[in-house]
């Protein structure tokens, strides 16, 4: 309870300082939303020419796009502390966290909150809602729950990727750009049905880095494409939990990394 109320307090302070320049904040929101509108426009153009991709229509792909877009933007908003963790290490701010009577994971998580990602979230949500209105999905309570769990889990997956990037700072200090292949690159790859990729690629992004579990497998179920995809139905049902598991593993990695922290200078 103490941790939750303290977290909300941190978030409140963060939001307040970001709102200090209101106009700049609003412009930023718009810029973020419009850039990502163009982003989806590119996909739409592609479909204007090809009509379908491996049996997926434009709005089915829009559904994929909306899901992964929401997960990534929420992860960026909430997991920002891990995303910019390298800065904390270089400035010695992590030393400060270590002398506070709170967990390090918690403190880094509570350290940043990037409210302006709301623009991205709104755009991705809009694409998801429009796709839904075009697709005639037969929604049930179970499916709504499945979607929500998938979104939360997908968010956890991306936060987990940020945690891996942050943990690597304990060794390299310069953060490894390589993690962006999986974050930004992951959003790009996940905007298309995974069936278009090669066998080893699909399996790597299912069992090692469970990117396909964020939106592809859940969409198979929600859009009733399981049978035609050839993916085991049980696997599809379990997919939304992969993100939680992934985050859990990265948290262990984090704990292991903190013990190897060498601090800087002075």
């Amino acid at each position: 309870m103490h941790h939750l109320s303290l977290y909300l307090h941190f978030v409140k302070l963060r939001i307040r300082s970001q709102m200090a320049y209101r106009l700049s904040f609003v412009l930023d929101l718009f810029a973020q939303a419009s850039i990502s509108v163009i982003d989806f426009f590119m996909i739409a153009l592609l479909f204007n020419r090809f009509k379908e991709l491996a049996g997926w229509s434009l709005w089915e792909v829009g559904f994929l796009y909306g899901m992964i877009g929401i997960c990534f933007a929420v992860a960026e908003m909430m997991g920002r502390g891990f995303d910019v963790f390298q800065r904390n290490v270089v400035r010695g701010e992590f030393d400060t966290m270590l002398v506070r009577p709170l967990g390090t994971f918690y403190q880094v998580f509570a350290h940043e909150f990037l409210l302006r990602r709301l623009g991205r979230i709104a755009q991705a949500l809009a694409v998801l809602l429009i796709a839904n209105s075009q697709l005639d999905i037969s929604w049930s309570l179970g499916k709504v729950g499945f979607l929500l769990v998938s979104l939360v889990s997908g968010t956890c997956f991306f936060i987990g990727l940020f945690v891996i990037g942050a943990t690597s700072c304990f060794w390299t200090v310069q953060s490894i750009e390589i993690i962006n292949i999986f974050t930004n690159g992951g959003v790009f790859m996940g905007s298309y049905p995974f069936s278009i990729y090669r066998w080893w690629f699909r399996h790597f992004f299912t069992f090692i880095i469970p990117l396909a579990c964020v939106n592809y497998f859940p969409s198979l179920f929600l859009l009733e494409k399981v049978a035609s995809s050839g993916v085991p139905p049980l696997g599809v049902q379990l997919a939304p939990y992969a993100g939680f598991l992934f985050l859990g593993v990265t948290m262990l990695f984090w704990r292991w990394g903190v013990l190897r922290y060498q601090s800087t200078g002075h």
Binding site: L13, G92, D95, L98, R100, P101, L259, H266
Partner: protein, 345 residues
């Protein structure tokens, strides 16, 4: 209060490859060299003591402090603070210690001091009454009121230091670690901070571990000093004993009113001369400062004169260079047995 036994820390310094492929390979790289930052250091500090933990840059001071505060995990040896092992019981230890790093603030950059304090109150779960009392007391001693509503980033160095020290004491810690608390401050600000530390130590029995380059800090605050150089402990005892035992050569700088041809003085050695500006090196055992100045005044007209005491850096250099003789001297003086590096009195 603090027990340190054969504490060592070895850093692994990795070789970094550059570029995209290089940074990928860095992930798997095991190439590194080892740097010994702290080498089997042992000491203990009693409740209510103020100790000066001194040494030149890179000697291992901060690394030791970081192990005592739970920031770094020791490579070997043991350390307990308040009965807690800092790196294993980091959070419990954190509740009972206060930490101030002169080089950077522990406060939130974009928050006013007051809000930073309130945030700390939440983090440490400080009861309202205790919080109010402490803020009142610290305000009276440090004059926080002038800048209590100012964002930390706008504070002057002196104000920030006062805010930081007060912040580190809000939760009534038993031990206060101060790393260079007066660095870059003017004389008045330094004096104010020293006074505050003294007062807190006297009234609250707070144990203070102080690292500094400022000999004045040490002389005003610490009876006992621990010297560390090249990762090793080289002296643990009273400051007065250290001063007595070390070579106490001083330097006298004189600006003469005119350029004299023969400026030699018995028992003092000319080490620098440029026109009317001259520096002498002398040992107070051979000639007292007063006698030396007297001898000069008798023969020459002067414009300005000043005596430099050896600063800490130099004292430490002496300790390190004369390690053997110092050990002998100390053994004679029965202050410390350097061969076991254990304090005997």
């Amino acid at each position: 209060m603090i027990e340190v036994n054969n504490l060592s820390k070895t850093f692994k310094v990795y070789h970094h490859r550059k570029g995209f492929f290089g940074s990928f390979m860095n992930l798997f790289s095991r190439k590194h060299r080892l740097v010994q930052a702290v080498d089997s250091v042992s000491f203990s500090v009693a409740r209510g003591e103020i100790i000066g933990y001194l040494g030149p840059n890179g000697a291992g001071k901060s690394t030791t402090i970081k192990m005592l505060t739970g920031i770094l995990v020791p490579t070997s040896g043991s350390v307990t603070v308040n009965g807690y092992i800092p790196h294993r019981q980091r959070k419990e230890n954190a509740k009972r210690i206060g930490v101030v790093f002169g080089q950077r603030s522990h406060l939130w950059f974009d928050l006013p001091v007051q809000e930073s304090f309130e945030l700390l109150q939440r983090i440490y779960r400080i009861p309202e009454a205790q919080y109010r009392h402490n803020v009142e007391v610290f305000d009276a001693l440090l004059g926080l009121g002038d800048f209590f509503r100012t964002p930390v980033r706008q504070l002057s160095l002196g104000q920030r230091m006062r805010a930081d020290i007060a912040a580190a004491l809000l939760h009534n810690p038993d031990v206060l670690f101060l790393d260079e608390p007066t660095i870059g401050l003017d004389v008045v600000a330094k004096a104010r901070i020293r006074e505050f530390i003294q007062q807190i130590n006297a009234e609250r029995q707070v144990t203070v571990v102080l690292t500094t380059h400022d000999l004045d800090d040490v002389e005003k605050l610490c009876k006992r000093v621990i010297l560390i150089d090249n990762a090793r402990l080289c002296f643990d005892g009273e400051l007065a004993a250290l001063r007595r035992l070390l070579s106490t050569e001083r330097i006298l700088s004189v600006d003469y009113a005119e350029t004299y041809s023969d400026i030699s003085i018995p028992n003092a050695q000319v080490i620098y001369q440029e026109e009317s500006r001259v520096q002498y090196r002398f040992s107070p055992e051979a000639i007292s400062t007063a006698d030396l100045i007297g001898a000069i005044l008798q023969r020459f007209k002067i414009v300005d004169i000043s005596v430099q005491e050896p600063d800490i850096e130099e004292l430490i250099k002496t300790v390190y260079e004369d390690n053997l003789t110092l050990a002998q001297k100390l053994a004679e003086a029965d202050v410390i047995d350097l061969t076991n590096r254990k304090r005997i009195s």
